[in-house]
Symmetry: C2
């Protein structure tokens, strides 16, 4: 069973018309802490999840593994309060700035990118 | 014609073994300016693109529209120098911190998220 877009949705038709979804009806959504700039996690949204994110003030994703809507923090308490939402130039990726309560990652770390570093931040300037 | 993973790749087998790719063999890669925290864009990598990103110091993506590798900046000059690469807790998303030369977006704006704001940052706190 694969996830498919939940339609019809309540998303503003003007937004729905330009949203470019993947074959599974989903769009990647980057969650970023609005003040520190930390990238917290990447989730997936269909039209309805985006609608709920835009209108409820709480980040709502589509869980590809559980195949259900997932209001971030509903079970963990680690709520994401929505600060802003932007679509990229191709209309196929969302950037959601949030105020994250506690850990964004289900493993308990602040972000989902804290533990599996493939290439560490290099010392500094004379860059590469 | 749909994009498929470019195999075999030269990616470190220990990384390849834990990478969880989408049905198209690709993983979303978030490019973030390493010092300011700006989220610049989201691209897609297959194993070989990740290998090249890890070993050449230049961000390399798989272009889903052109179905070819794309070394960011090769035509525009808007190079991304790789500073660090991390895999998320589910091993299905990459966060690449870079030093972006010039505009990240092909439209000429600094990031790909600058122009299509669905929900503006609320005045709130001393936000921004």
């Amino acid at each position: 069973m694969s996830s498919t877009p939940r339609t019809p949705s309540d998303l503003d038709p003007a937004i729905a018309a330009r949203l470019k979804r993947g074959a599974d009806g989903l769009v990647p959504a980057i969650a970023q802490q609005y003040d520190t700039g930390e990238v917290l996690m990447l989730g997936w949204m269909d039209d309805q999840a985006l609608h709920l994110t835009l209108t409820t003030g709480r980040c709502t994703y589509w869980s590809r593994s559980r195949e259900e809507y997932w209001v971030k923090g509903d079970t963990s308490g680690h709520v994401q309060h929505v600060k802003s939402v932007a679509l990229d130039c191709d209309a196929d990726t969302l950037l959601v700035k949030v105020d994250q309560v506690g850990a964004a990652c289900h493993t308990g770390t602040r972000t989902c990118f804290d533990t599996d570093v493939l290439l560490p931040l290099l010392p500094a300037e004379p860059a590469e």
